[in-house]
């Protein structure tokens, strides 16, 4: 329908009003009055029919006036739905003038509340609500536009669809934003020529934004989280309730999926082949991903999901998934996607070792790294990604760990139980990666030098808060293999969280991310923590250091991490561990908050972890080694893609924590500081 301006461009003449009331008398009176105000009035005596009409033609109306008490649907419910779906101004009306009811209306988002009998003067003013809303939206769009824009420039958010932010320019920013949204259906806003019509630009849910969202939801409690309150808590200029509402819907679905996954997660160490998903992820997907170079956010999300879902995932899977995740993550985000792919592949091959169980893990690890590196933008190239090497390292480390279960993670190593700690470590201990609190207690903090932070995040609980770094004991075994780790300045903290710390692995010094990544995990306590797992093992720098063999362990880690330990590998290893984190994070207990899959790596634990409820991850609280910068809420490193929240929702059942890794890697929009990745260039 033509917008109000059709009536000669004289707003509010011709403004389209829909009146919903089961009382025919009132309907007739209102209609006549509205006509008297020169509005274009449509009446409807059934709320359900009104909703259908609105859904069919969103732009058909400018404002809704609805009665509170109706037989087929509660007026407040209609109010909510209209607000969520169409975001049109709704005016409530009733003969009931009790304050509490009026308040209820306002709380539900009513623009106004009229007491019957409605007078003509009151109706004459309703156009103000329409205009006000439009202006506010425009303003929001503008803001969000700029907001988005900023994000866009960030490596992480490369969302092409970001139409809005574009500052198009000069002409009414909101207009340009509107245009940009060509893909966006939301554009269906009132097209009225009225400049105030705002087409909300598409909001890109960056990792940060998602983290904020998750925090808000957490704060409110997933059950009580309503878009309006979430919006208020988030306090993001330019963000509309509709954005939040739709995002919340997806989030809820995501949580559900996580829960399902979680429930469905089988034993942690399911053989690679056992889980179809993983399998696919591991080998096939990765390859595919690699090939495609583009892992859509959804995949990533899905991966993460999977990861999360898997409480313990055997390392196997995680590794695989992680890689996949990573790749996807990488891809998704980022421009460097390609590079990563390359890595992913090789690493993948490396696997094979010791952890038969995690064959994939290696690739993942490596892959992840690369992915991350790319993401971070640091690594300028795959080279840095070295992740391969990292993965290799990690593999090695893992491998080592594997061999010495005791030595390694302090006992965690259960057969690759990928504990949430996210540490890729084959053994549970990997979980430890999550150095942060969440780390599963048993895990040995293999945690690699915090540098790799991301990976290490998984610092094993034992490590406890120790920044992933070096965690403590340099498990010889690990170290041995990992030796590279040290080198890797990227400090990919070896996730080896084996109980000790693989000194070698831990990059402590590695330029790599200063244990931040790892330590970050700790920080927060995120349950999700993801073992930063950094693939710590070898996290080494992507340089070929680890190469081979190790990769397996590393990859494992990832996988592991993803699985159980919330690897959040903060960006660093990010990719790898992170993903795990993601899965690990599982904070099981509360999805809220950590949901952001992409969220920063460290938040991985949180976000991604959405804590699959019940995820067995031990780590579940393993604090993801957050990356230094990443703080939970921040978009961590997940480079860009990760942030795409929507993708998360898309979660495909990818399981294995590895997914997480990848997820984290790619996702963190913010790519953690290059250091975190350790790779950053050092590789």
């Amino acid at each position: 329908m033509a917008p109000a301006e059709e009536a000669g461009g004289e707003f509010p003449v011709g403004m389209k009003v829909l009146v919903v009331d089961d009382d025919p008398t009132c309907l007739a009176v209102l209609k006549r009055m509205l006509l008297g105000c020169r509005y274009d009035a449509t009446t409807c005596s059934q709320a359900t029919r009104a909703l259908t009409m609105l859904r069919e033609n969103r732009r058909g109306f400018d404002v809704i006036i609805s009665d509170v008490h109706m037989p087929d649907m509660d007026g407040f419910r209609l109010l909510e739905l209209v607000g969520l779906e169409m975001d049109l101004p709704v005016i409530m009306m009733s003969a009931d003038s009790r304050t509490d009811i009026v308040m209820k209306g306002i709380k539900h988002g009513a623009c106004d509340y009229l007491i019957k009998p409605v007078r003509m003067e009151e109706l004459k003013n309703i156009w103000q609500h329409v205009l006000r809303k439009k202006f506010n939206e425009n303003k929001e769009h503008e803001h969000s536009g700029s907001l988005d824009d900023t994000d866009r420039t960030r490596p992480t958010n490369n969302d092409n669809e970001y139409a809005s932010s574009v500052n198009d320019g000069a002409d009414g920013s909101w207009k340009s934003q509107k245009k940009k949204r060509d893909k966006d259906e939301d554009d269906g806003e009132l097209e009225s020529g009225d400049p105030s019509t705002s087409k909300k630009p598409r909001v890109v849910w960056s990792v940060e934004l998602h983290q904020q969202f998750v925090n808000a939801v957490n704060h409110l409690g997933i059950d009580k989280a309503v878009p309006k309150k979430i919006l208020e808590l988030m306090n993001v200029p330019g963000l509309t309730r509709e954005n939040v509402a739709s995002h919340l819907q997806k989030f809820r679905l995501y949580l559900k999926r996580i829960a399902q996954h979680h429930a469905g997660i089988a034993n942690p160490f399911c053989p690679p082949g056992s889980s179809p998903n993983i399998g696919s992820l591991g080998g096939l997907d990765l390859q595919a991903l690699a090939a495609s170079g583009q892992i859509p956010p959804q995949t990533l999300a899905a991966l993460q999901d999977e990861l999360l879902g898997r409480p313990t995932n055997s390392l196997l899977l995680p590794g695989r998934d992680q890689t996949a995740l990573r790749l996807s993550a990488v891809k998704g985000n980022k421009p460097h996607g390609e590079r990563e792919i390359a890595f992913g592949q090789p690493i993948y091959k490396c696997q094979s070792n010791a952890y038969a169980a995690f064959p994939q893990s290696s690739p993942t690890v490596g892959g992840t790294f690369s992915a991350w590196s790319n993401k971070l933008g640091m690594a300028d190239s795959t080279g840095t990604l070295g992740s391969m090497s990292n993965s290799q390292n990690s593999n090695i480390v893992l491998h080592e760990l594997q061999q010495q279960p005791d030595a390694m993670l302090s006992g965690n190593l259960h057969s690759l139980d990928v504990k949430p700690s996210g540490i890729v470590m084959p053994s549970q201990s990997l979980n430890t990666f999550s150095a942060s609190e969440g780390l599963s207690p048993n895990q040995n903090p293999l945690m690699l030098p915090s540098q790799s932070s991301g990976l290490l995040a998984a610092m094993p609980p034992s490590m406890k808060h120790e920044p992933v770094l070096a965690t403590s004991q340099p498990s010889s075994s690990l170290l041995g293999g990992i030796d590279l780790v040290n080198q890797a300045s990227t400090s990919q903290p070896l996730i080896s969280t084996h109980g000790g710390n693989l000194p070698g692995l831990v990059n402590r010094n590695s330029n790599v991310l200063p244990s931040q990544g790892i330590s970050t995990f700790q920080t927060e306590n995120n349950p999700y923590l993801v073992s930063q797992n950094s693939v710590g093992v070898g996290s080494k720098q992507p340089h070929g250091v680890l190469k081979t063999e190790n990769s397996d362990p590393l990859s494992r880690n990832y996988g592991y991490i993803g699985g159980g330990a919330p690897l959040m590998d903060s960006g660093l290893l990010s990719s790898q561990s992170k993903n795990t984190q993601f899965g690990l994070l599982q904070n099981q207990d509360d999805l809220t908050g950590s949901w952001s899959p992409l969220q920063n790596i460290d938040s991985y634990g949180n976000t991604i972890g959405l804590s699959h409820p019940g995820s067995s991850f031990q780590s579940s609280n393993v604090p993801l080694g957050k990356f230094p910068d990443q703080g939970r809420g921040k978009n961590h490193g997940f480079v860009g893609k990760g942030s795409c929240i929507p993708s998360r929702f898309a979660v495909d059942e990818i399981e294995s924590p590895t997914n997480n890794l990848s997820h984290s890697i790619g996702s963190s929009g913010d790519i953690m500081s290059p250091d975190v990745f350790g790779f950053s260039g050092h590789m």
């Binding site: 089961d22 009382d23 025919p24 008398t25 009132c26 007739a28 009176v29 209102l30 006549r32 009055m33 006509l35 008297g36 009665d67 008490h69 009733s94 003969a95 009931d96 019957k116 009998p117 409605v118 007078r119 003509m120």
Partner: protein
């Protein structure tokens, strides 16, 4: 009857309705909308809608109150509805009696509700009669005017 006489009758009727509190400013607004807005049958339409709806509601309430166990919530919902209708048309007295009726609903007193229902019914019938007279007069006036033209 002469047009003037008819008009006098109509205006006398309306005056008494206003002065007795049967109708209020809302009704006046409706009249204005009709006169100024050029929609002649508007008041007649609204009044008719109201009368039909009110009759239906009153019958529903009566049925509910006859049940062995009275659902006061449902009764209250109907009363609320009637209140809204009467408010929209400007039927002031009916509206007030509805408000009183709601009190009894909240007290969950069947007797109180039955009594309140009787009051509402009486007021409504009284108003309806007046409305019917008003509409008849208006039709006659129109017919007369039309004949005159």
């Amino acid at each position: 009857m002469a047009g003037a006489a008819l008009r006098d009758q109509l205006s006398a009727l309306l005056s008494s309705m206003f002065s007795q509190g049967l109708v209020d400013e809302q009704f006046e607004q409706l009249q204005m909308l009709q006169d100024e807005g050029g929609t002649p049958g508007f008041v007649a339409e609204v009044v008719t809608l109201f009368c039909d709806d009110a009759e239906r509601i009153i019958a529903e309430i009566a049925t509910l109150l006859e049940q062995p166990i009275v659902s006061f919530d449902k009764v209250d919902a109907f009363v609320h509805q009637l209140k809204g209708s009467s408010a929209s048309v400007g039927a002031q007295k009916v509206k007030f009696t509805c408000m009183q009726f709601r009190q009894f609903c909240q007290e969950k007193s069947r007797d109180g509700c039955l009594m309140a229902l009787a009051v509402v019914r009486n007021e409504f019938y009284d108003l309806r009669n007046k409305f019917q007279t008003m509409l008849q007069l208006e039709q006659q006036i129109q017919a007369y005017d039309h004949k005159q033209q």
